[in-house]
């Protein structure tokens, strides 16, 4: 069985946020949810300033705090390394969200179909999409995943449940890579089987030194970064995405 992971090459990331957009359309995440989030940082004082970029998907930790705290087992770890959310079971307590050191969880604060960028419940769209609303909904997301046949792919299914990056489980099970990796213009995001030493991410890890985010938290993330350093004390976020409350 493959054990999936992601390697992000910070030497190649231009902070363009194409991965964020690709993720949103692929997974139909509602407004305000960024399963993939790209930080833009600034550090140092003028004129000794430097700028950094850092994409932040879900880390799919091997010791996932979210899976540990989930009271009903809606958040669980799969054998292939993916940390999944069963949107049929989640009760919406958001314990996973407060437990996650990386803040990768997003709650469906309102009807996710109405919270889409184009309101899927707008009757005007029915004419546009040939009688099928929603217009750009990804039909793959309804498919149950894995041998256990649970509903874990994509977003925008149920109000009041938690969602996060699924490593595009519906694509991965179909033999494709994640939407963010597939769309990264600079090929900075590489996804694959970390147990296979010949896979592209494994190769990358052999060539360049790597680090993981907040390793001290003991979460053992399956997302590794190469070509940079962990964020330091004086890093300030610039140009944050998303309206803040």
């Amino acid at each position: 069985m493959p054990r999936y992971g992601m390697v992000i090459d910070l030497d190649r990331c231009t902070g363009c946020r194409a991965c964020m957009a690709a993720c949103k359309v692929e997974n139909n995440t509602p407004e305000g949810s960024f399963w993939m989030y790209v930080f833009r940082f600034e550090e140092g004082e003028y004129p000794n300033t430097r700028i950094w970029f850092m994409p932040r998907p879900c880390m799919h930790c091997d010791n996932a705090p979210c899976a540990k705290v989930c009271p009903v087992g809606a958040r669980y770890k799969r054998e292939d390394g993916i940390v999944a959310t069963d949107w049929d079971r989640c009760i919406g307590c958001r314990y996973c969200e407060v437990a996650c050191p990386y803040s990768v969880n997003y709650f469906n604060w309102r009807d996710p179909e109405e919270n889409q960028y184009v309101n899927w419940k707008d009757p005007e769209l029915e004419a546009l999409s040939g009688g099928v609303i929603p217009p750009y909904k990804n039909p793959d997301l309804d498919r149950p995943c894995g041998p256990e046949k649970r509903h874990i792919a994509g977003a925008s299914h149920v109000e009041g449940v938690i969602e996060k990056c699924t490593f595009c489980v519906h694509r991965v099970e179909a033999g494709k890579t994640t939407a963010c990796a597939a769309n990264c213009p600079e090929h900075a995001i590489i996804f694959g089987d970390l147990d296979d030493p010949a896979s592209e991410p494994s190769q990358k890890l052999q060539r360049k030194s790597s680090f993981r985010l907040l390793e001290e938290a003991g979460t053992h993330p399956r997302v590794q970064y190469v070509g940079g350093t962990p964020h330091g004390h004086g890093w300030r976020q610039i140009q944050p995405a998303g309206k803040r409350s």
Binding site: G32, P71, C90, P101, S103, R244, S245
Partner: protein
Amino acid sequence: MQAKLERLPFGVGQLTPKYLTFVMGMLVLLAIGLLSYGRQLSEGHIITGLRDIGSMGGATWGLYIVFLIYFVGVSFAGITIAAMIRLLDVHYLKPISRIAELITVTALILAGLCILPDLGQPLRGITNLFRYARPQSPFFGTFTLVVSGYFFASLVYLYLASRPDAATCAQVPSRLQGLHRLWAAGYRGTPAEQHRRKVASFWLAIAILPLLVTAHSTLGFVFGLQVGRPGWHSALQAPGFVVMAGVSGVGLVILVAALFRRLYGAETRLDDRIFRWLGNLLMVLVLAYLYFMVVEWLTGAYEGHQHELKLTKALLGGDFASTYWLAVICLVVPLAILFGQWVRNQFSLTQLVVAGALVNVAAIAKRYLLVVPSQTHGTLLPYGTGSYSPTSVEYAVVLGVIALGCLIFAIFVKVFPVIDLTDGAE
């Protein structure tokens, strides 16, 4: 052995206009709360002030969780006091035992009701917990021990302890006679029955004390085991919860007991000795809690880990400073009052009531400061500082829940004597 009564004591069975006005008021509040909850169900949590932690810059747990842990906290008092009376043989405290037990039961109901509006899928919450609850989740303890175990135990305790009074009331002819008879379940006060009561309540008290500690600790573990939130991950979290629960619970018992003493003119039944004892207990608990706070503060400020430091700054001098110092004042002032009373061996019920009220303000503030800042100001990745302010919906729901608590009390006192009729020394 039973005292013969001419009529039902402490206003049981009598409805006064004042009472009805109060009930109406509470019903209105409850209705507003229900309507708000209905709105939240139909429109989603978007109408609350809650938002995602991190890129959305919000707090995902807010007022509902604050009051959940506050209510679980105040539930501490009743059962503790009841158990202490039994185990320490402090007979003169007996008259307040039912008030205390009722506070426990009511508070636990309210706590349960505070979880529901927080859940995104409330009905799933109820069904899925029974189906899937995982022992590994600290919520398992909250759910099983606090809500079912602790609540059920308190209910059993309340019931068993009230049987003699039920039997007494059942002798008075009234519309409630049938109920009281049922309640008494055949209790006649025979020596055998009294013996059984003694044995049962002794073992119950013994069984409840560890449950009490574990239940409150469990709630502390909900926060204390989380390494991802600065300000939460601390071994002090669980004991702190137990002590703070005691502070707020005893404070509330003082308030409620004083209220009923005033309402029913029960100065002889609820005498000063009881209040003095409660005051002293409160003083010790507040002192212990303040000690915890200092330890907490020192750890955050001294170790200098950037996230802990940021949070400590936000608490002591930043966005939460006003709430923080309000909480400190609401603990220090009562301590001063209680300490003064103790040293000078004076007693003033008014002062004690003020102290009881203040510690509850402090309790709510401290619960808020536990839940919210670690979310908005405690992200480990540099998302920037977030903010949370509850909306009217959340306030309405919480007020509705409190109103429901008042109603439970109001109804209880009209069907059953809220002040224990029998003395401790039976």
